[in-house]
């Protein structure tokens, strides 16, 4: 501001000089990145690691000279898990602070609440959670894992290892219903059978009836899609009743770090497919964990949400530097080339141009009776193929929709 008045005062300067120095000014002023994460309330358990991941990445990137030579200024607001506040804060970030990039949102509801607001601007938005998949929106990049990456790996393995009779315990909302449907779809060609399916309202914490229904149905394994702290109470209650049935899940351990919260052997026999979990021990992962622990020594667990939040900023750095611009259209041209990727702690991951979702290196983990995590299988890199398969192609059109198996893009 001070600089502006100075320039305006120097009226004698030739015009092109003013423009030049304005541009130089723009080139050195910080890049504003807006972050919306819930660090209060029910979702704080996820929001705090996400905030930490973003802070660590920003500190590292700034330490190494920033993006395109510009420092990052991270602005964080806490919507406290309230969707209305998400909308209001997204507007604040986009219209008042005029951020160059918006990151954040935990639940799918919060993402859907702010997507229409983002879509009215020319700002890019990165969603950093694993989720039920299906968002086909040119303004959004998703860096978390989606069902085809987690479930098309996990479910066949579980069927082969434990058997074909499956019981689904799912949270009664979009994520639970969609993931349950993914399970049914994947089980069919394998000859699998859903012997029981139960949907639990969010916030329910008592599971005696569910445990008994499971015992009655005698499944070979449980497909666990319960969500949130209250519903996690299923695990100690099932363990106390000696349910002792193997469990597979796309969200447990790497996301909710239940094995760090419950005493052993509550989480024994849990299997999950993940792109990141803290027990991953490749050299790149070890290095990343060391840096994280140095900055946040009290972190209970570096979960995949925090990791994704960290990766998102490096992804943006790569995109901006290849595009030599922060402009959304320029960045999307880079994505369209199909090789826009980075070497993340999990391995090399790339943004898929059709869906703007990210490929991931998937591994299967298991929990033993001491709550220790083991890597059981390495699936290699899995593409986020589903959206492209059903007809979402953001290089050609931008429907701004969330598709589901029962709500597919119109056939051309």
């Amino acid at each position: 501001m001070k600089r502006r008045t100075l320039l305006a005062g120097a009226a004698a300067l030739p015009l092109f000089n003013i423009i030049d120095s304005e541009r130089a000014h723009a080139d050195t002023k910080p890049i504003k990145i807006g972050l919306l994460e819930d660090i209060s309330g029910d979702l704080a358990v996820f929001g705090i690691p996400k905030l930490h991941g973003s802070q660590l990445a920003v500190e590292e990137i700034n330490g190494k000279g920033g993006i395109l030579g510009r420092q990052i200024e991270l602005m964080q607001l806490d919507p406290q898990g309230d969707n209305a506040r998400y909308q209001e804060f997204a507007r604040r970030m986009l219209q008042k602070e005029k951020v160059d990039l918006l990151i954040g949102g935990i639940t799918s509801a919060s993402r859907e609440a702010i997507r229409p607001i983002v879509d009215r601007t020319n700002t890019l938005y990165i969603y950093t959670n694993q989720y039920e998949g299906g968002v086909c929106d040119a303004s959004m990049i998703s860096v978390g894992a989606v069902p085809e990456q987690q479930l098309s790996t996990l479910i066949p393995w579980m069927v082969e290892k434990f058997g074909k009779r499956v019981y689904t315990v799912a949270a009664d909302y979009n994520f639970g219903h969609l993931s349950a449907e993914w399970g049914r779809t994947l089980l069919k060609p394998l000859g699998g059978q859903v012997v029981g399916e139960e949907f639990i309202p969010l916030g329910v914490s008592q599971f005696a009836q569910t445990i008994q229904n499971i015992q009655k149905a005698k499944p070979d394994w449980l497909y666990m899609l319960n969500v949130g702290a209250a519903q996690n109470s299923f695990f100690p209650q099932a363990s106390a009743a000696h349910l002792d049935i193997p469990m597979g899940s796309p969200i447990k351990i790497m996301l909710g770090f239940e094995h760090k919260q419950f005493p052993a052997p509550v989480m024994a026999n849990m299997y999950a497919a993940a792109n990141w979990f803290e027990e991953l021990d490749t050299p790149a992962a070890e290095d990343f964990k060391k840096r994280w622990r140095a900055k946040f020594p009290k972190e209970t667990y570096i979960n995949d949400m925090g990791y994704n939040a960290y990766v998102a900023l490096y992804m943006y750095k790569m995109l901006a530097e290849r595009a030599k611009s922060l402009n959304k259209d320029d960045i999307r041209k880079v994505i369209a080339k199909g090789d826009a990727g980075i070497d993340a702690p999990e391995g090399h991951i790339v943004i898929d141009p059709k869906s703007q979702h990210t490929s991931h290196h998937m591994r299967l983990l298991s929990v033993d009776k001491e709550n220790k995590v083991h890597i059981v299988k390495d699936f290699g890199v899995i593409q986020p193929y589903w959206l492209g398969q059903v007809g979402c192609d953001l290089t050609k059109s931008n429907p701004k929709e969330q598709y589901t198996p029962d709500h597919l893009p119109p056939k051309r």
């Binding site: 358990v45 309202p201 005696a208 009836q209 100690p236 000696h242």
Partner: protein, 288 residues
């Protein structure tokens, strides 16, 4: 057959225990003293956290649970003396103040202790009936809920303190004129209420995921049970929990948890419509 019958009983006992233990403290604080305590869940959370901390510090679980109840009770007494006392004649203000306390308690816990807290092993073994295996600890909870009901009844109906407390709450001026020390009665009653909330948390600590906002999952059931019980909580809370327990467990078993949850709320509406004074009013009318 036997297995299925037992399992039906087990499911009912489980819901009943949850309703009674959640509601017992609130029955005193809201039902008798008239304070709309929205921080009830946070006293439960307090019981959970103290129990877990004491347990991990090396105390045996029953002792740790006692600590949970006692600490919640003491904090309750302290709050009664400092903040709640001016609010007895202003129930709606008590709603705001306790809501404020609950915000401070959950967020303060989050800032001080982090977003998660280490859990506790569920004690006891499992037992089998027919093809089902059950957690024996759930039976402990059921037994505890019966003890709590008995304790509250005896305390308020059969002891000198109880008579004084009920007299004070019905007519503070008269009780005081008769030499009852009103301040102490109120503080102790409030402390017993929050202590019972703490006990609820202490008992459920080994079966749950421990986070600062966990108290919220008890709040709705607690209020609903107390209100359906009616004005005389000593008489009404037990029958209310039986009725709601049968409804909830039945709907859970036949139609799943979603219908169970919505059905419980609808049942509350219908019960209130049919029994405008709650269960206690209905019972008093039948017996008199």
């Amino acid at each position: 057959m036997v297995a299925d019958l037992f399992s039906d009983f087990y499911q009912f006992a489980d819901v009943f225990a949850f309703l009674i233990l959640s509601a017992a403290g609130l029955a005193i604080i809201f039902g008798m003293m008239g304070v709309i305590n929205l921080a009830h869940g946070e006293f439960i959370m307090c019981g959970v956290y103290v129990t877990s901390a004491a347990y991990h510090a090396g105390l045996p679980l029953p002792l740790a649970q006692a600590c949970g109840a006692v600490v919640a009770g003491l904090i309750g007494m302290l709050l009664e003396v400092t903040i709640i006392r001016p609010l007895y004649s202003r129930p709606l203000d008590s709603l705001l103040v306790t809501w404020g306390i609950s915000l401070v308690a959950t967020q303060g816990t989050l800032i001080a202790l982090g977003s998660t807290f280490p859990g506790i092993d569920t004690p006891g073994h499992s037992f089998s009936v027919g093809e089902y295996s059950f957690s024996s600890y759930r039976m402990v909870l059921f037994a505890a809920s019966l003890c709590v009901l008995g304790f509250v009844y005896v305390l308020f109906m059969r002891t000198r303190f109880g008579v004084h407390a009920r007299a004070t709450m019905q007519n503070p001026g008269m009780a005081q004129a008769l030499g009852v020390r009103k301040g102490i009665i109120y503080a102790v009653s409030f402390g017993i209420g929050t202590g019972l909330a703490g006990l609820c948390g202490a008992l459920y600590a080994p079966t749950m995921n421990l986070i600062p906002t966990m108290g919220a999952s008890f709040l709705v059931e607690a209020f609903v049970t107390v209100v359906v019980g009616g004005a005389n909580v000593l008489l009404g809370t037990g029958p209310a929990a039986i009725a709601l327990g049968v409804i909830r467990a039945g709907l859970n078993a036949w139609y799943g948890q979603v219908v169970g949850e919505i059905g419980l709320l609808i049942a509350v509406v219908l019960i209130i419509r049919v029994l405008p004074d709650g269960f206690s009013g209905w019972l008093t009318r039948r017996t008199s």
